[in-house]
Symmetry: C2
Subunit: 446 residues, 2 copies
Amino acid sequence: MAAGPSVAPTLSAAASTALLTDRYELTMLQAALRSGAAHRRSVFEVFTRRLPDGRRYGVLAGTGRVLDAIANFRFDTAQLDWLADQRVVDEPTLRWLADYRFTGDVTGYPEGEVYFPGSPLLTVEGSFAEAVILETVILSILNFDSAVAAAASRMTAAAGERPCIEMGARRAHESAAVAAARAAYVAGFAATSDLQAGFSHGIPTTGTAAHAFTLLHDTEKDAFTAQIASMGTGTTLLVDTYDLAEAVRTAVEVAGPELGAVRIDSGDLTLLAHRVRRQLDDLGARQTRIIVTSDLDEYAIAALAAAPVDGYGVGTSLVTGSGHPTCAMVYKLVARAASADPDAPLVPVAKRSAGAKSSLGGRKWAARRLDADGVAEAEVVGTGEVPAELADRLLQVPLVRGGEPVGREPLAAVRERHRRAVAGLPLSATQLSRGEPVLPTELVLG
Amino acid sequence: MAAGPSVAPTLSAAASTALLTDRYELTMLQAALRSGAAHRRSVFEVFTRRLPDGRRYGVLAGTGRVLDAIANFRFDTAQLDWLADQRVVDEPTLRWLADYRFTGDVTGYPEGEVYFPGSPLLTVEGSFAEAVILETVILSILNFDSAVAAAASRMTAAAGERPCIEMGARRAHESAAVAAARAAYVAGFAATSDLQAGFSHGIPTTGTAAHAFTLLHDTEKDAFTAQIASMGTGTTLLVDTYDLAEAVRTAVEVAGPELGAVRIDSGDLTLLAHRVRRQLDDLGARQTRIIVTSDLDEYAIAALAAAPVDGYGVGTSLVTGSGHPTCAMVYKLVARAASADPDAPLVPVAKRSAGAKSSLGGRKWAARRLDADGVAEAEVVGTGEVPAELADRLLQVPLVRGGEPVGREPLAAVRERHRRAVAGLPLSATQLSRGEPVLPTELVLG
C-alpha cells in the first residue's frame, strides 16, 4: 500500500462536461433566451426531501468534483456542431453556448459534512440561463458520490479501528468506480484497489491476489512462492482456493512467520477467522493479519466485530450504496428576480401542486444547533435573518465566487471533516438499525 | 426528438482505460512474469452464478464498450511514471506494460442477447499476462450495462407499444448515465434525455421542460407562451406546477389543439391521466399525447397499461437496475497451459474450496435448445464436443481475433437482436412476478 499526492487530473477532468446534460436544459435555455426571462437573476438549491428509508444521516460527497465539472462546462466546436446538426437548439442559443462560462456564485455544505432532509446542500446563484444548464451534471455527481459515502460511513463506523478497503471497481461503471473510491475515502475507507482512483485522487491503493493466480500455477505452493518472491513476505496470500488449513500451513511454510496477511474470500467468515487465527498463532505467525472479503456490507462487518479480523475488503455493497444506489437530491429554483434588471429584488418561488413534491421557496441558510454538551441536536434551516444564537453554527461555505472556484480543498481535509461531523452527532447516529434521521430538521421562516 | 448517427467517440473513449484496473491485476502480473507462469496460454470466462432474485432472464449489454476498452488498454508515460513512483510494480513489469496491447482472442454472446446462470458470456484467451489485466474493466462495463439493460427490458415489455424514454442521468454517475442510456436503448427504450448519449452513441434525444421554467416566468401562461414560441406547438408542456386542470386549459389555449403533448410528473398518475385525457378531448386536443414521469418502474408502467398514457419517462429505477444496480458477473480462469510452450495443451482449472463459490473448469460452449414450436426451452452449456443437434444453435460469436476487434456492430442491430431474443423465450419470460429463470441451464460435460 502506498499513499500519494494527486499527480494528475481525473480520467476525464480535462474533458468538457457540457453534454452531460439533459436535453431540456438547453431547450429551456433557448425558450428563456427568446422570452427574455433567461437573464433574470436566479437561485437554485440542491436538497433532498428524505433520507433513504431507515437511514440516520446523509453524507455529502462529490462537491470537489462539482467544482471541476463547473470549470469544465464549456462547449467545444464538435459539440456545438452536433447540437446544430441535431437541431437541439437554434442559432442564437448556439452562439450563447459557445461563449458559456459560469460567472455566478455557489455556496454549500462543505464536502464530507452530514446532512438531513431539507438541508440546502448547494446553492447556485446566477442568471437563470447560466445556472439552469448546470442542473444535470451537478445532480449526477452529488447523487452518486453521496450515496456511496453514506454507505461507506456506516461501514467505517461498524469497523471501528479496523481498516476498510474499497474493492468494488468491477461492480460499478468503470468511471463511477473511481468516484466511488473517492467517496469511500471521504467517509473513512483506508485504501482502494482502483488504480485510477490512486492516479486521479491520490488515494492509497492496495491489493492481494486472485484465485486465478493460484490456479495458474501447478500447485498452491508454487503460487505462494512466486508471490512471495515477487512481493516480499509482507504480502497478503489468498488462502481459500483449495483447502483452507492446508493453504495456511503452506503460506507460513513459504513465507515464514513474517507473512503479512492472509485473505479469506468465502465461507462462514466468523468461524473461519477464528480457526485461521488459531492456526496462524500455533504456527508462530502471531503478527500475520487476517483480511476478509466476500460480499461484506455494514451488517456483516458489525457481525465480525468479535472475530479476529484485521481488515475488511468491501466491494458490491459499497459501490451500490448498500441498498440505496442513488440519493434523491433535486435542483430547484427557489427564487428569481421579477425582471432582467440586475437590481431587481428576488422573489421566492415554489411548485405548489397538490402532490407530495411541493417545496419551500426562498434562499435557505442552515445551522446545526448543539445541546449543552456540544452534541448536535437539530438541523435548523431557514429563510430570512439568521437568529443570533446560530450565527456561529452556520454550515454553508463559499465554493465559487464570480465563476472562480474558491472551495477546493485536499481530500485529507474532507475526510477529517467527515470524521468530526459524525463524532458530533448523537451516539445513535451510527446504530445500524432502521430509524428516523438522528437530527430533526427545524424550519425557521424569515 | 431527433435520431442521429454516432458522430464522435464517447467522452473518454480515446482515453486510456489501463488504470481502470484493480492493483492486484498488476501485482499478479509481476509475480507471474517472475515465475514464468505469465506466459502460459490461459482462458478466462465471464459468467454469473445466479440472476438477481426473482428475475426470469438476464440481458447482456456493454460488449461494444468492452471492445473499445480493450483497444484503448494502453499505458501512457504519465501512467507508467505514476506506477513507478508509487512502486506498484517493478521495472521489468513496467517495461512489459509499456508495450502492452492485447493480442489474443475474445468470443462471447453477442450484445443484446439474453442469458442465464452459467452462460459463458465472454471468453478471453491469450497469455495469462495479457488476459488477467483486462479483468476489472471488462467486469465494470458488463456488470453495470447489463444491470441497466435487464431493468430496461422489463420496462419495455411492460410498456408494450408505448415508448419508454430514459431520463435518469441525474440519478447516476455522470459517465455511468451515458452508458445507462446506451444500455436502455439496447433493451428497447425509444430515446434518452442525455445529450452525451446522443453525441457518443447516436441515440435519439428528447426532452420536455422542468418546473423551474414555469416558476421563472411571471405566470404559467407566460411560460407556456415562451416555450411554444421557441419550440413550436409540437412541444411537451409540463402541466403540474400549480393547478393541473387550469394548466391543461392554458396549454391548449396557448398552443391550440395541435399541442404535441403534456407531461404529468406527480400525483396519482392513473387517475390524473384519465382526467387530463378527458379534458384534452373536451378541448378538442384529441391528438395531444400524455407523457407521465415520476419514479416509474416496471410495476408502475404495468399498472398504467389501461390508463390513457402515450409514453413513459423513466429515471431513477432504470439507471439503478430497478433494485439490482449491478450483476454478479465474475471473470474466472477456467483453463491454462501446463507450461509456457505455445503448443502445451490446456488444463481445465477451478477453485474447489468448500464454499458456494466453486465453479466448473474448462472452456464452455453454449447453445439455446428450442422446442418443436421454435420456442427456447433450455440454455445448454458444455465442455468438449458440441452435440450435433445443437450445432446450429450456438450462441457465441467472435469478438476479437489476434487482438483485432471483429465484433463491432451498430446499436440498431443490437437492439433488434434483443427484441428477437426476448420474443424467442417462453411467454412467462416477461411476467413481472418473481420466479425462476425462464430457461433451465443444462450442463453437458465433454
